[in-house]
C-alpha cells in the first residue's frame, strides 16, 4: 500500500472518529407500542432533541418484560418508553427502575404516575378493555350485540366469545383483575365460571380476539378499544362495545432503567414524554392521555370511555397477580383441555 493511500485512509478514519465524537447520544429504548407508531414517535421527539438518537427494541408486552427481567443483572435498556404500567410495577418491585421526577410532573393526572415521590414511572396514555363485535357474522347467526359484561354469559353466545388467556396476555389479566375488582372476589369468579361456558378460545395475545372478530373467525372478542378502532378503520365490520358496568384499563408508561450509562439523555426523554406535544402525539391513536383536558376524540372510539374507566388498583393487581393466575389456571386451564 502506498503512503498516500495510507494517509487517505488515516484521514478517513480521523474524519469518522470525529463524527463519532460529535454524534448524538444513543438511547436504547425498550417498548411495546405499536410498530407503526415507532418512527413517528422518534421523529417527533427528535424535533425537540435532535442530539438524542432513539434505538428501539420492540416486542409484545410479555416478551419485552421477560427480556428486561432476564437481563436484570446487566440491563441493556436505558429507558422504557411505552410499556404497560403493570409490567413496570413488576420491574419496580425488582428494584430495576430509577426514580425520577420529570419536569411538568404536576400537570399529569395523579392516576397517571407512580404514587411514590419521586415516581419510578410516569404514564403516557391509557388503553381500555372493550368488546369487538362483528355485526355481519352476528346478523348471520341472529344475535343481538351485548351491552354489558353480564350479557356475555347469555346462552345464545355459547362458542362465539374469544378472550385472551390471562396467563399469557397482559390484556387478559387486565380483564380478569377488573372483573374481580368490580364484582368482588366471589362474584368475579362466579362470572368467569359462567363466561367460561361461552368461550370458544383463550388466545395468547390481547389483540388477537379483536382481530379474530374483525376477520369473522369469531363473533365477539374481548380485547381493547384501540385494536377495534384500527380494525374498523381498515374496513372490518366491527363495533366497539364498552360494557356498561365499567372497563378495566392499563396505561403505557415511561421509566428510566436503573444503571443507565446516559442518565441525562434518559431524563430528557422522560421529561419530553409527558409534555403537551407528546400527549398530542399519543392522542393520534389513544383516546385517553396522561394530561387531562388535552385529548381530542379519536375516530371510531366510543366517546364515553373516560367515564367508564374503573378506579383500577394497580398495586392490588400486582400483589395478587400470582394468586389470581394460579386460581384461573386451576379453574379453566385443566377444565378446558380437550381430551386427545
Amino acid at each position: 500500500m502506498t503512503t498516500s493511500k495510507l494517509l487517505t485512509l488515516g484521514a478517513l478514519a480521523l474524519a469518522l472518529g470525529t463524527t463519532a465524537v460529535r454524534a448524538q447520544t444513543e438511547l436504547t429504548v425498550y417498548t411495546a407500542i405499536e410498530a407503526e407508531d415507532l418512527e413517528r414517535y422518534a421523529a417527533t421527539f427528535n424535533e425537540d432533541h435532535p442530539d438524542i438518537k432513539v434505538n428501539w427494541v420492540r416486542d409484545s408486552t410479555g416478551v419485552i418484560t421477560a427480556k428486561l427481567l432476564a437481563e436484570k443483572n446487566n440491563p441493556q435498556a436505558d429507558v422504557i418508553w411505552g410499556l404497560a404500567a403493570t409490567s413496570l410495577l413488576v420491574l419496580k418491585t425488582e428494584g430495576m427502575l430509577e426514580p425520577y421526577a420529570p419536569a411538568g410532573l404536576d400537570a399529569l393526572d395523579p392516576k397517571f404516575r407512580d404514587s411514590d415521590t419521586p415516581p419510578s414511572w410516569v404514564g403516557m396514555d391509557a388503553w381500555v378493555a372493550a368488546i369487538c363485535y362483528n355485526t355481519v357474522e352476528g346478523e348471520k347467526l341472529g344475535l343481538t350485540p351485548p351491552t354489558s359484561w353480564a350479557d356475555l354469559t347469555k346462552p345464545e353466545y355459547a362458542g362465539h366469545v374469544v378472550m385472551p388467556n390471562p396467563a399469557s396476555s397482559g390484556t387478559g389479566f387486565l380483564d380478569v383483575s377488573s372483573w374481580l375488582q368490580m364484582m368482588g372476589e366471589e362474584g368475579g369468579w362466579a362470572y368467569m365460571d359462567a363466561l367460561h361456558n361461552n368461550i370458544a378460545a383463550y388466545t395468547h395475545s390481547g389483540s388477537k380476539p379483536c382481530k379474530m372478530a374483525a376477520a369473522g373467525e369469531t363473533v365477539m372478542g374481548v380485547s381493547f378499544a384501540f385494536r377495534g378502532a384500527k380494525e374498523k378503520a381498515a374496513g372490518a365490520p366491527v363495533e366497539i362495545i364498552i360494557p356498561e358496568e365499567g372497563i378495566g384499563w392499563d396505561m403505557e408508561a415511561t421509566a428510566i432503567v436503573a444503571g443507565t450509562d446516559s442518565p441525562e439523555a434518559a431524563q430528557a426523554l422522560v421529561d419530553w414524554s409527558i409534555t403537551q406535544k407528546a400527549m398530542e402525539m399519543y392522542n393520534v391513536g389513544y383516546a385517553v392521555v396522561g394530561i387531562p383536558g388535552i385529548a381530542k376524540p379519536v375516530e371510531h372510539f366510543p366517546a364515553n370511555i373516560p367515564e367508564k374507566m374503573i378506579d383500577n388498583d394497580f398495586e392490588w393487581a400486582a400483589n395478587n397477580r400470582e394468586a389470581i393466575l394460579a386460581e384461573w389456571s386451576k379453574r379453566y386451564d385443566a377444565k378446558s383441555e380437550p381430551k386427545g
Binding site: 436504547t28 405499536e34 410498530a35 407503526e36 434505538n55 427494541v57 420492540r58 409484545s60 410479555g62 416478551v63 418484560t65 421477560a66 427480556k67 427481567l69 432476564a70 437481563e71 443483572n73 446487566n74 441493556q76 410495577l89 413488576v90 418491585t93 425488582e94 428494584g95 407512580d114 411514590d116 419510578s120 355481519v136 396467563a167 399469557s168 378460545a201 383463550y202 395468547h204 395475545s205 389483540s207 388477537k208 379483536c210 382481530k211 379474530m212 376477520a215 369473522g216 373467525e217 385494536r227 381498515a234 374496513g235 372490518a236 365490520p237 398495586e315 400486582a318 400483589n319 397477580r321 400470582e322 393466575l325 389456571s329 386451564d333 385443566a334 378446558s336 383441555e337 380437550p338 386427545g340
Partner: protein
C-alpha cells in the same frame, strides 16, 4: 512355558503423535471449545434455573409495635416467632415463585389500618427484601410506618435451591396434561408423516412414473417456509371463515387436528429425504432372487423392501417426532386451547415471567427428545452396509397400473403441499379477508407493521449468509477432525456427543439459555450480546447436528488410505485437506451451506429472545405479526422468505451442477 515366562516384557506400544496429530487435536479442541461455550455452558446456566426455588424466610425480618400513642415501643420480635405463635402460615404457604408476596399484616391479628399504632420493620440479614407499596426495600435499618402504610407491606421471597419446582409441576394437572398432549400429537404426526413420506419416496425410487423431478421439487417446498406458515394457511382454508370449512364436518381446525395437519406438512420433507436415501440404496439381485423363488410382490415388499429401509424409517420417525414435539410456532397459531409442552414454556416465560418454571418445562421437554435421540443412535450403530462391490443398483420396471397409482398418490401429496403454499400466497395478496377480496400489495408494506419492516428482511438475509459461510466452515472442519484423527477415543466420543446434542434442544430453551449465559457481566463473551454475532452463533449451534451428520457421511466415503499415503509422502494434512478432502466433499459442503441458509431464514424459536434494535429478523416478524393478528402481512413476509429460499436453492442447484461436473468427474468411470 517356563522359558516364555522368563522373557523380558516388551516395550509398551504407544501411538506416537506427530505434529499433524497435534495440529488436528488443536483444531478439534478449538471447535469443541466453541460447542462448550455456545451450547453446554448456556444450557447449564438455563437448566440450573429449574432448581432455583423461592420461599419466604420469616426469620429474616423483625418487627416492633408501638402503643396507641405511637411513641412507646414494644420489644423487637421476629416474624418467625409471630408465625409460630399464631400458626398463620404453614410450610406450603411459605413456598412461592419469583413474583410472590406475603402480606405482613396477616401476622398481626389485631391490625387495623385506622389505628394510631405505628410499626417498625427491618431485615436481620443483608438479604431480606420486602415491599412498602411497590417500593423494594432491603435493609437492616429500622423503618417506621404508620398503620395505613404498614398495610401495604409485603415480604418478598428469597431464593434457595431444591426440587420444589418439579414437585409443583408434577402436582399441577393442567401442566401435567401437556405432556400427554405433546406425546399424542407427536406420535400421530410421526406415524402419518412417515407413512406419507414412505409412499412418496417409494414412488420416486421404485416406480417409472413421470414428472419425478417436479414432485421432488414440490416435496421440498415446506422446508423453505417458517413452520407457522401452514398454520396460517389452515386458518384460511378451514377456519370459521375458511373456504373449505365444510370438509371438516363441524370439527374445529383449532386444536390437535390443525397441529397434526401442519406438522405433517412441515416435517414431510425431512422424513422424505431420509427415507428416500434409504430406498435408493437397494440391490437388484435380492429382487431377482425373490422373483425366481416365485414370491408375490406383496411378500417381496415385506421381506426385502421394508427390512432394507428399516433404519431409514426409524431415523425418519425420530427426526419427525423431535421436530414436532419441540416446535412451538404451529401450536401457538392453530393450537387453540390445546396445551402442549412448547406452549407451556411460552406461557410461563412470556406470560408470567416465571423463568424457573419455564426451565422445568424445558427439562421435561428434553426428556422425550433425548430418548428419541439415544434410541436412534443405537439403531444406527447396528446398521450394516447394504451395498457391496458386487451389488447391482435396483432398476424399476414400467408397470402401468402401479405407476399410475404412484402418480396419483404423489399428486395428492403435491396438491396438499402446493395448495398450502398457494393459499399463503393468496392470503398475502388479498386486501381484507373475508370482507374485501380485491387484490393489493398492501400486505407487503412491512414498514407499517410489527416486527422491524423491510430492515428485518435484510437482516435475515445477512444472518442466513453469515450462518451458511461460517457455520459450514466450523461444522465441516469439526467433522473432519473427528473423522480423520488417529486415536484419542474419549475426546472424539465427547465431541461427537456435543455435536449431536443440539438436535434434541428446543430452540426456545437455547434462546433463553443464551440470555442467561451471555448477558452475565462477568462473562468475557458478554460483548457479543445483542449483536448479529450472537444470532449467528445461536443459529449455527441450533442446526449443528444435521450439518455434522452430512459432513461425516461424506467424509466416510473417502478412503482412509489417503491420510497414510499423504503422510508417507511427507505432505502436511492441510494440503491434503485443501487439495483432496474439500474438493471431494464439495457436494456435501454445498448441501450443508444451503441447509444452514434456509434454516437461518426460517428459524424463530431461538432468535426471538436474542435479536435487538439493529438485528430484527423476518422470521420473527412473521411470528409477531401473526401474534398481533396481522395474519395477511405475516403470510406476505412468510412468502418473502419462501421466494428468497427458493432462489437460494435454485442458485445452489446451478452451482452444484457446475461444480459437480468440474470436481466430481472421478465418480464416473
Amino acid at each position: 512355558m517356563a522359558e516364555a515366562a522368563g522373557l523380558p516384557a516388551g516395550r509398551a506400544v504407544r501411538l506416537r503423535i506427530d505434529s499433524d496429530g497435534w495440529i488436528k487435536r488443536a483444531f478439534m479442541a478449538v471447535i469443541a471449545l466453541y460447542l462448550i461455550a455456545a451450547l453446554a455452558l448456556p444450557l447449564y446456566a438455563m437448566l440450573s434455573k429449574s432448581f432455583v426455588t423461592y420461599g419466604f424466610d420469616l426469620s429474616r425480618y423483625e418487627f416492633q409495635v408501638s402503643d396507641d400513642s405511637g411513641t412507646v415501643w414494644g420489644d423487637p420480635v421476629s416474624a418467625a416467632t409471630l408465625n409460630e405463635q399464631l400458626g398463620r402460615f404453614g410450610p406450603d404457604d411459605l413456598r412461592s415463585s419469583s413474583d410472590g408476596r406475603l402480606a405482613v399484616t396477616e401476622l398481626f391479628p389485631d391490625f387495623s389500618f385506622r389505628s394510631p399504632v405505628k410499626y417498625r420493620i427491618r431485615g436481620t440479614t443483608d438479604n431480606a427484601p420486602y415491599l412498602v407499596g411497590l417500593d423494594l426495600q432491603n435493609s437492616t435499618e429500622w423503618r417506621e410506618l404508620d398503620s395505613n402504610t404498614f398495610r401495604r407491606v409485603n415480604l418478598r421471597p428469597v431464593t434457595t435451591t431444591g426440587l420444589q419446582n418439579y414437585v409443583e409441576y408434577f402436582s399441577n394437572p393442567a401442566l401435567f396434561s401437556s405432556i400427554e398432549n405433546s406425546l399424542f400429537i407427536a406420535t400421530i404426526s410421526t406415524v402419518l408423516t412417515v407413512l406419507f413420506a414412505f409412499g412418496f419416496a417409494y414412488a420416486l425410487n421404485r416406480s417409472c412414473m413421470p414428472y419425478k423431478g417436479t414432485f421432488r421439487l414440490i416435496a421440498m417446498m415446506p422446508i423453505l417456509v417458517p413452520s407457522l406458515l401452514p398454520g396460517i394457511a389452515l386458518i384460511y382454508m378451514f377456519g370459521n371463515q375458511g373456504f373449505l370449512k365444510g370438509l371438516l364436518f363441524g370439527q374445529t381446525i383449532y386444536g390437535p387436528l390443525g397441529i397434526v395437519i401442519g406438522s405433517v406438512f412441515f416435517t414431510f420433507p425431512h422424513a422424505l429425504i431420509i427415507i428416500s436415501t434409504a430406498l435408493s440404496i437397494s440391490d437388484q439381485r435380492q429382487y431377482e432372487a425373490a422373483e425366481s423363488l416365485r414370491a408375490s410382490k406383496w411378500r417381496t415388499f415385506w421381506t426385502v423392501t421394508i427390512p432394507g429401509a428399516r433404519y431409514g424409517l426409524i431415523s425418519a420417525a425420530f427426526v419427525t417426532f423431535t421436530l414436532v414435539i419441540t416446535d412451538f410456532g404451529l401450536p401457538k397459531v392453530i393450537g387453540g386451547q390445546y396445551n402442549v409442552l412448547a406452549i407451556d414454556i411460552y406461557k410461563q416465560v412470556i406470560g408470567q415471567q416465571n423463568f424457573e418454571m419455564g426451565a422445568v418445562v424445558s427439562v421435561v421437554l428434553l426428556i422425550p427428545a433425548v430418548i428419541a435421540f439415544i434410541v436412534d443412535r443405537q439403531v444406527q450403530k447396528k446398521q450394516v452396509s447394504l451395498l457391496s462391490a458386487r451389488s447391482v443398483p435396483y432398476q424399476p420396471r414400467p408397470d402401468r397400473r402401479f405407476d399410475l397409482a404412484m402418480l396419483a398418490w404423489c399428486a395428492v401429496m403435491g396438491v396438499f403441499i402446493a395448495g398450502i403454499i398457494g393459499v399463503c400466497q393468496f392470503a398475502a395478496l388479498i386486501n381484507y379477508w373475508p370482507y374485501d377480496l380485491t387484490f393489493s400489495l398492501r400486505n407487503y408494506e412491512f414498514n407499517r407493521m410489527d416486527g422491524g419492516g423491510w430492515g428485518a428482511y435484510w437482516n435475515s438475509l445477512e444472518l442466513a449468509a453469515l450462518t451458511a459461510v461460517i457455520g459450514t466452515a466450523i461444522i465441516f472442519t469439526g467433522a473432519y477432525m473427528v473423522e480423520k484423527i488417529d486415536g484419542f477415543r474419549t475426546g472424539r466420543a465427547a465431541f461427537q456427543f456435543l455435536a449431536m446434542l443440539p438436535m434434541a434442544i428446543p430452540g426456545m430453551v437455547l434462546g433463553l439459555a443464551y440470555i442467561f449465559f451471555f448477558n452475565d457481566p462477568a462473562n468475557p463473551l458478554n460483548p457479543i450480546y445483542g449483536t448479529m454475532t450472537i444470532l449467528v452463533v445461536s443459529t449455527v449451534t441450533h442446526f449443528y447436528t444435521v450439518g455434522h451428520l452430512t459432513a461425516l457421511t461424506a467424509l466416510k466415503q473417502i478412503d482412509a488410505e489417503f491420510e497414510p499415503v499423504a503422510s508417507s509422502l511427507r505432505q502436511p494434512f492441510w494440503r491434503l485437506f485443501a487439495r483432496v478432502t474439500v474438493p471431494v466433499c464439495l457436494p456435501a459442503i454445498l448441501d450443508i451451506s444451503i441447509y444452514m441458509f434456509v434454516n437461518a431464514m426460517t428459524t424463530v424459536s431461538a432468535v426471538v429472545f436474542l435479536y435487538s434494535t439493529h438485528t430484527a429478523l423476518a422470521s420473527v416478524a412473521v411470528l409477531n405479526m401473526d401474534d398481533a393478528g396481522d395474519i395477511a402481512p405475516a403470510a406476505a413476509m412468510g412468502m418473502m422468505i419462501f421466494y428468497t429460499n427458493a432462489t437460494a436453492r435454485v442458485l445452489h442447484a446451478l452451482a452444484s451442477r457446475r461444480i459437480l461436473s468440474r470436481t466430481q468427474a472421478w465418480r464416473v468411470r
